[in-house]
Amino acid sequence: MDAQSTHATGPGLQLPEKSYLNETTGIRSWLLTVDHKRIALLYLVSVTFFFFVGGFFAMMIRLHLLTPSGYMLSPDTYNRMFTMHGVTMVFFFLIPSIPAILGNFLIPLMVGAKDLAFPKINLLSWYIYIIGGAFTLYSMISGGLDTGWTFYTPFSTVYSNSAVAPAVIGVFITGFSSILTGLNFLVTVHTMRAPGMTWFRLPIFVWSHYATSIVMILGTPVIAITLGLAAMERLFGLGFFNPAMGGDPILFQHLFWFYSHPAVYIMILPSMGVISELIPTFARKKIFGYEFVAAASLAIAVIGFLVWAHHMFLTGQSTYAAIAFSFLTFLVAVPSAIKTFAWVATLFGGSISFDTPMLYAFGFLGLFLVGGLTGLFLGALGLDIHIHDTYFVVAHFHYIMVGGAVMGYLGGLHFWWPKITGRLYPEWMARIAALILFVGFNLTFFPQFVLGYLGMPRRYHVYPPEFQVYNVMSTAGASILAIGYLAPMVYLTWAAFYGKVAGNNPWPATGLEWTTASPPPTENFHVTPVVTWEAYDFHNRPELELDVPRAPTLAPAHGDD
């Protein structure tokens, strides 16, 4: 590191002599670290690895679907591809991505603490993640997995010929990593805040991670025990989910979705948190309706637990239950709408710049909007009859999970990269990559909405020829998307070593994390910070050197305080 620092010296800026990156050296100092920032980097490396594993499977799927009769892969191989794509992406990429990387790195910095409440448990959670990942990788190379990421019984427990048990056990284990992360965040936010950091001065990023953690600790144990029972059923013939033994496959679905629907909010809420940092920073304006945005996060987490059976409208569920679950599903739409409008309103009267993170934020807005709105189709009982289990669903959740969560993740990674590494990434390259991603994404997934309404079921290795045009479009888009994902990986890695030195607060932004050095020292702050300003307040912070105020354009109803 020291040798390279001669390469990059910004105008008058120097990397701090001592930071969390170089205070101790050697592989042991990384593998046995209890520093939340280093653990975040451990997660970054391993999560990126799983992202590219999952991405490889995605590419195979899209290439295979170029032709209706699918010459490339055998049916069994194709089934393994989409299953392993789903399992890897959901459990090993999306769920840990923002919380375990950005959340881990930033929450102590943002609340002004030296570390998370339980640093050793934090390290333990990474090892659990790695062990779970190892089991799942083992299942992939020893026969693969062909159950779909939903592991529906009795297919997964009785009929599948693939390596279900190690995969299920892997996911079971990884669940505990998620539980421990959530527990750590909750406790940290409650008891580790710096003096002056009141609840309503917390960045929305922290609020949304708080909400995410609620979902993690209350939902994840249920999937753990459910998959545990499924593994027991496969290995020892326990019969809870096997109709031949008197069990009920629908029970598995209930238990599975009790977690797996809220898990969608584990993926999207942190991303919303990132966006809530990016938009005020690059519009240089307080987020519009802070309390409402914070409360909306909690509302999503709580109501999100009451809607799971909307994945099961067509399993023969009671009509009454279906109506109740559908209604609750529509209620979730409201806090999402509040957030979206708040972001848009924040732009008004701001001073907007178009740095890369902001481009990702705009991309997020557009894609999340489409993803969220298409949720209305699926939540509506009458429409779900037709589009359930078709490509419409596939498109919808990719708009949320890839369009929403991954855009937020990449936006956040760019935004905090200077804080993490102390160096800036090449701006123009990053902007072009963001644009490529946006175009590639829409080209990949928008045609799938049409395919879905036309009636193409999901998880098909062959399809009727009339659907080919849309599939070709989708595959073409996927190739563009692949470039969009590879590019940041390359230039961000490059920037970590050779980029321009960023300084403490390059944007500038208002969070507590920007008041310390980049990269921060091991103990985060040399002196315990005392917070005297509200979140996203650009006006009472002379050290930010922002001095050209814009006149208010909307009447401040409960504005400046």
Partner: protein, 328 residues
């Protein structure tokens, strides 16, 4: 028939119109919000772009009226969509009286369907136009799903219970149906065609012969699995009913201690009145097929069982006497 870029599936059932109407409504609602948000963002991006390095936004931090507005309005719209969808769904889940009931069994990876008069089809479904049709569906193995896009209907087929699905076809024609719940290797091949016919045509089809002239043994073999005989009469003797390998012409031990020679008469009786003579070591679980199979089908089944003479007898399985030597 199809344009190169199809955008909307055909409508061929009474429910399709309703679903599409709701779809159109939701599409328009969503378009409105997409256009609204995109234009607001575009406008703001231009109007409030940063003009100097040190510029900072205004101090507006919220507006209660706006917050209430964008809480209540989306809520109201959501309730409208919810209610509309619920009405369609309730109608879809509540079958009218006097339906044409068709039994459907899904198994990896085929659909077995049976008309009210007993006529069977595989991966084909014939229904009359304008008639309320109800499918009563069960699964032999894993969860499947019966999906007819042109009818806008689908329902999971879950092992261990029945699900029902009703529709009223409105236009004669051939429409695809799919399995849309992932069920293993050939999930994508587990589909077929629904043929909607005029009632007269349907009646003619229903009473007509199957048209396929195959030899009795293979017809019997097909029947043997279609009637699910093979689920109990496993060849290796491990099933709930005795293996039929090598039984024809031999003698079997009955529960009451007597023996009986397996001939055409005994086979016929065992199909129609299975409980009359129970093989030793087995429970009387087989349902009587009296009135359920035609004479021709019995002939075919018997031919098939005869053909099993050449198969090796099972190693285990109670009640089967050693094959009598005189048989040859």
């Amino acid at each position: 028939m199809q344009s190169p870029l199809p955008f909307f599936p055909e409508q061929a059932s009474s429910i399709a119109n309703n679903v599409d109407a709701l779809f159109a409504f939701v599409v328009l609602t969503c378009l409105f919000f997409v256009v609204l948000v995109v234009s607001l963002v575009t406008f703001a991006s231009y109007r409030y772009r940063r003009r100097s390095k040190g510029e900072v936004g205004d101090t507006v931090a919220g507006n209660l009226v706006l917050e209430i507005g964008w809480t209540v309005i989306p809520l109201l719209i959501a309730i409208v969509i919810f209610a509309w969808g619920a009405v369609i769904y309730v109608n879809f889940r509540t079958a009218p009286k006097d339906t044409l009931d068709i039994y459907v069994v899904g198994k990896q990876w085929m659909w077995k369907l049976q008309q009210p008069n007993g006529r069977k089809e595989i991966n084909e479904l014939h229904v009359p136009v304008g008639r309320d049709v109800r499918l009563i569906m069960g699964s032999e193995d894993v969860v499947h799903d019966f999906f007819v896009p042109a009818f806008r209907v689908k329902m999971d087929v879950v092992p261990g219970r029945y699900n029902t699905l009703w529709f009223r076809p409105t236009r004669p024609g051939k429409y695809r149906f799919y399995c849309s719940q992932y069920c293993g290797t050939n999930h994508a091949l587990m589909g077929g065609w629904v043929t909607v016919q005029d009632p007269a045509e349907y009646a003619a089809w229903l009473s007509g012969e199957s048209g396929t002239t195959t030899d009795p043994v293979s017809t019997g073999e097909k029947l043997f699995s279609e009637l699910a005989c093979n689920t109990c009469h496993l060849a290796n003797g491990s099933g709930r009913a005795p293996s039929l390998n090598s039984v024809y012409g031999g003698k079997v031990l009955l529960a009451d201690g007597s023996t009986v020679t397996v001939d055409d008469g005994y086979i016929r009786e065992s199909i129609l009145q299975p409980n009359a003579k129970i093989v030793a070591g087995y429970q009387p679980v087989m349902p009587p097929f009296q009135g359920l199979v035609t004479e021709e089908q019995i002939v075919n089944l018997t031919a098939y069982i005869k053909s099993l003479q050449s198969q090796p007898p099972p190693a285990k399985g109670a009640g089967v006497l050693p094959v009598t030597t005189g048989k040859k």
